[in-house]
């Protein structure tokens, strides 16, 4: 039996249809009409012990709602949800003992206390015996140098240090499953790397199941074998990461600041690329922010240097940036049938 079993799971919210203006708001007070929003719409999947699963999707896709159901905060509207054979919402305290959760950037450590005291309190809460406690603390110290932070108050830690402590703390009681929600958001590259290696090692050594929600495709690529993409409450893709990596791994977005930009520029650029690479070259052009023109292209078909050459020889460009493909873009590509 799988550790997490989800079948035809739903979560519907009733939302007030707000009328416009002050008069409308006043009328809403007395007679509101409601519509149902399907935050999670009939999803099914199973997660086995020891897996690291990337649960990704754009904002408002239903990720957080699913996690909140799995952690026992929200009651499902329908369907089956079992973690270790039990329904989390009805068994919150029991389930909390076998789970670890790091939710966004809100720390769960004691704000005013030194780091080590937070760990000691957690030891009491989860009834971790001294031997296991020492063993785990030693391991955390080895992995990320936790000892150096022991005497610091949590409030004085940097965001990266705090995330490291929070993640380590979520593993202290040897949980069967750990939920990590956006663990690397807003962190610099070196801290991200530390966090990824911490997660990876803990998963390998403890066989802890990890469910990771993130906007950072780098996290997914570094950690997960399996990926579940959700959008508008429905699962778009559930399977091996390799097919997805093959898709977004090869895509890059070239951001250009073109002098004398006008409406014709995008068309002219598109024409030049078509001239050079043919019609089906996999590139898309869009203006996503002011002054910046984004060319998203497939490195496998059109190498960066070639694309750049076409751009440079035809346009006067004052600034260039290359970025990895965004989550929104991946989801768009999946919609467009990239994984079928």
């Amino acid at each position: 039996m799988s550790l997490i079993h989800i079948q035809n799971l739903n979560k519907h919210f009733k939302v007030l249809n707000r009328r416009e203006g002050i008069g409308g708001a006043f009328r809403d007070l007395f007679s509101g009409s409601y519509r149902t929003v399907k935050a999670v719409d009939d999803i099914s999947f199973d997660i086995e012990a020891g897996e690291i699963v990337g649960y990704i999707g754009p904002n408002g896709a239903g990720k957080s709602t699913t996690i909140k159901m799995m952690t026992g905060i929200l009651k499902p509207s329908g369907g089956v949800l079992q973690v270790n054979g039990l329904m989390p919402y009805n068994n919150r305290i029991k389930q909390a003992q076998i789970m670890g959760v790091v939710f966004g950037q809100r720390t769960q450590l004691w704000w005013d206390l030194p780091v080590i005291e937070s760990f000691k309190i957690l030891r009491e809460i989860y009834k971790v015996d001294q031997k296991t406690f020492d063993e785990h603390m030693g391991m955390f110290n080895e992995l990320v140098g936790l000892k150096a932070l022991y005497s610091q108050q949590v409030r004085t830690l940097s965001l990266g240090q705090r995330m490291l402590c929070d993640i380590a703390a979520s593993f202290l009681h040897n949980p069967q499953v750990v939920f990590l929600d956006e663990p690397t958001i807003g962190l610099d590259i070196s801290v991200k790397a530390k966090i990824r290696s911490l997660i990876k090692t803990l998963n390998a050594q403890r066989n802890t199941t990890i469910i990771l929600t993130t906007h950072d495709l780098g996290d997914v690529e570094a950690l997960c074998h399996r990926i579940i993409i959700i959008d508008k409450g429905k699962i778009l893709y559930d399977g091996d990461i390799k097919r997805v990596t093959a898709l977004f791994g090869a895509y890059r977005t070239l951001k250009l600041q073109i002098d004398d930009y006008n409406d014709a520029t995008i068309i002219a650029l598109q024409d030049k690329l078509t001239d050079r690479f043919g019609t089906d070259n996999g590139s898309t052009i869009a203006q996503t922010e002011e002054f910046w023109t984004d060319v998203t292209f497939d490195q496998a078909r059109t190498p960066l240097s070639d694309v750049l050459a076409v751009v440079m020889s035809n346009f006067k460009v004052s600034d260039v940036r290359v970025v990895e493909i965004s989550m929104e873009n991946v989801v768009q590509q999946v919609y467009d049938g990239a994984l079928r």
Partner: protein, 265 residues
Amino acid sequence: MHSLLDYLRLYFIIEAQYIKARMQYRADFIISSIGMFFSSLATLGVFWIIFDSIPDLAGWTFMQLVFIYGFYMIAISPMQILFDHIWQIRFHVQQGTFLKYYFRPLNMMFYYMSEMFDIKGLTQLAAGVVILIYASLQLGLEWTLARIALLLLTLFSASLVQISITVMAGCAAFWVLDAYPVLGLAWKLREFAPYPMNIFDGAFRFAFTYIIPLGFVAFYPSQLFLQPQDVSPLMYFSPLVGIGLFALTYWVWTLGVNSYTGTGS
């Protein structure tokens, strides 16, 4: 699962650390304690001024009111000391930080309230004890073991009433966007509690007895000691008011916790 003893032990460990951390801000502690002490005495000053011009207030002497006030100060201290975190609940609920209280294998009200321990409330408690002893000596009250036990029981119940009124008002945060006015009102009303209920006219007295039972924070239980011969036997059941009210409050809290959906992240 945790036993009651586990919870007690855990509470002790958390608060010991909390107090240690707080003590680093010594000036804050000293100044707020002094402030607490004098604001407690302010109401006593009001009594003094009133009794300067009248001999008694609806049949109550100055020293009897001092006794009621001492009782009141002790009764409101557990709320101040142990449940002070209720004031922050609207921030936690609005900003989504309330979610973390779901993630530990602990009773949520315990976990939530354990995050704050208001040390300056101890000053209030100490002042209340001194005032109560002083007044009872002046009044020549007789203390047998049974009466001391009754005093402790009624104080326990009275503090549950005060805790219930405030925590229930705080729970409004689960349903109302800004619960501050509700909590603020409950806090303001508390100031009526040390007065004899018979100075209020019918509607208010009814409200303070049956709707927001502030009368049970100090006045009604004090009667058991100030005029034991005149008191209705029903008053001996007043400790049940505190227990019943707290059960109701816990039910409202659970409803709120179960209906909370958090913010997006």
